[in-house]
């Protein structure tokens, strides 16, 4: 049994002091239900995630107490992927016809505070100042720039494109373009990455209604099919966040594995994709994830980005809604935002940030601690 997405809802990302994370989640859920033309009582199951805004299943207090199973999942930045895969499994199992996935969050300002103990790492690691995701991202791109000749100008161009796309997306947080010069000369955070090259914790919510593919046209004139939803954790030897040591022999990371599994499941290849949402916790991540997901060879990003290939009108549009860089990252919602954007794109409803040429296949990718990647492939 295939799985279709027939309803989507979003609460704008950014800062919304007047609403709790839960209320933003309820807002997005109501829009998703409305989009699918169903009532909350029609929903048979739900999976959801929120890291800092309470238990996702308390959404039932807002939406109504209908008795459905609502399972909370939590896999850091890959939480949205966990929800989607779990819902995908539930429908494929033949036990359910229609369900919802929901993600919302509301983080404090400033960098995320990770707890070493929760990840099985000694306290010393945090005490000396190494429990910082930003350092990992900086060190990974530092090595990558060295190995594959990526320039600092290319780093800045990734942010520039993100803020341009954000300016076209009414649900984005950062809606003002910023020049390459300003990006490159903003405060250095973790060399070689400056302040405007990182995404920040933020707030927001996304909900999706999923159903059996053979019921899809009951709910939507423009159903979008979830052709693949995969997740992989790190194999031994990959270079991952929060690693006090790493093996001398490096192997491919979970992104490479999740991408391969997804392409195999969907029976398509990277060249078939018309629009890409790739985890861009910072600009280096977007650059490296282009190759890790199979969309170019290592090192080709320099020429591609300099030529504008990843812009909305380019050959390989990446993060058309502004990505994490322009939307910030409410952890529970971030992965689902990518899917929301791809559904918009495949429906042709993305407005100013619509990719031209009637896109038919779309790709999402998230990466999170302690070394997990989740990928989806959507087809209209």
């Amino acid at each position: 049994m295939d799985v279709a997405i027939v309803g989507i809802g979003i609460h704008p990302f950014g800062r919304t002091p007047s609403l709790t994370g839960l209320q933003q989640g309820a807002y997005a859920s109501r829009l998703a239900l409305q989009d699918a033309g169903v009532e909350w009582r029609d929903i048979q199951f739900a999976f959801g995630g929120s890291i800092s805004a309470g238990s996702a299943d308390t959404l039932v207090n807002e939406l109504g107490l209908t008795g459905i199973p609502f399972i909370n999942v939590a896999n850091g930045c890959a939480t949205g992927g966990s929800s989607l895969i779990s819902a995908f499994n539930a429908i494929k199992s033949g036990q359910y016809d229609i369900g919802m996935v929901a993600g919302f969050d509301k983080h404090d300002r400033g960098a995320f505070n990770a707890d070493p103990k929760a990840l099985g790492i000694g306290e010393w690691y945090g005490e000396v100042g190494m429990m910082m995701t930003t350092q990992f991202f900086a060190m990974k791109i530092q090595k990558y720039m060295h190995d594959y000749n990526i320039s600092t100008d290319t780093l800045a161009k990734v942010s520039e494109k993100a803020f341009i796309n954000g300016s076209k997306n009414p649900n984005a947080w950062r809606r003002e373009p910023i020049s390459v010069e300003e990006i490159a000369s903003s405060m250095m955070v973790n060399d070689p990455l400056t302040k405007y090259m990182f995404c920040s914790p933020s707030e927001g919510a996304v909900s999706l209604v999923l159903c059996r593919a053979d019921h899809a046209t009951r709910y939507s004139n423009t159903p979008v099919y979830l052709k693949a939803a995969t997740m992989k954790s790190r194999r031994f030897g990959s270079f991952e966040v929060f690693a006090p040591s790493q093996a001398l022999q490096q192997v491919d990371g979970p992104t490479v594995d999740a991408a391969k599994a997804a392409f195999e499941m969907a029976g398509v290849g990277p060249g078939d994709m018309d629009v890409l949402q790739l985890q861009d916790t910072e600009v280096g991540a977007e650059i490296m994830h282009m190759a890790e997901n199979g969309f170019c060879e290592h090192g080709e990003q320099e020429a591609l980005i300099q030529a504008g290939a990843t812009h909305i009108g380019g050959a390989m549009p990446v993060n058309t809604d502004g990505g994490c860089l322009a939307n910030g990252e409410p952890i529970g919602a971030s992965g689902l935002r990518q899917v929301y954007e791809n559904v918009l794109q495949l429906r042709g409803q993305a407005g100013e940030h619509q990719v031209p040429g009637d896109p038919k296949l779309a790709y999402t990718h998230v990466y999170g601690a302690p070394g997990i990647s989740a990928v989806t492939i959507l087809q209209k």
């Binding site: 505070n113 945090g126 005490e127 350092q135 090595k143 060295h146 405060m187 955070v189 040591s245 093996a247």
Partner: protein, 141 residues
């Protein structure tokens, strides 16, 4: 009287004439891991032995932490006295790549592939006066 204590038990030999980082090496697959663990992440083996890692290696990658981290960071610094610090992975031949703080924080003086030594030095002073010793990577003079 001031006492010197290691930041964590089992991370490195301390006190010792020539202190060294401690890794576990799997007797099944030969892979080393830092810090020493009771099982092998590579092959799930549980037969491991602790060994000392080499004291010199090459810098595999690095960055500079330009702002003061929040908790769980725990130094004696304040927002005013904070100094940016380097962090990097040092490739220890035959062993493993270990992540650690660098003694150097000038990006102009750091480059991938440079040789560095593992050194041991005070990181903070506890309320009771104890000096807490951590390991650092220092460019070879």
């Amino acid at each position: 009287m001031t006492k010197q204590v290691p930041i964590a038990e089992g991370l490195f030999t301390w006190p010792a004439e020539r202190p060294a980082l401690l890794a576990s090496r799997c007797k099944n697959c030969g892979i080393a891991s830092f810090p020493a663990a009771q099982s092998c992440m590579a092959c799930s083996g549980q037969d491991v032995a602790v060994e000392e890692l080499p004291g010199r290696g090459t810098l595999w990658t690095w960055t500079i932490q330009q702002f003061m981290p929040k908790t769980p960071y725990r130094s004696n610094e304040t927002a005013e006295t904070f100094k940016p610090y380097g962090v990097g992975y040092l490739e220890l031949p035959g062993g493993v790549r270990v992540e650690g703080r660098l003694t150097e924080n000038d990006p102009q003086k750091l480059h991938i592939g440079m040789e560095m030594d593992v050194v041991f030095a005070p990181f903070r002073t506890e309320e009771n006066g104890d000096e807490v010793i951590n390991f650092f990577f220092q460019p070879v003079a």
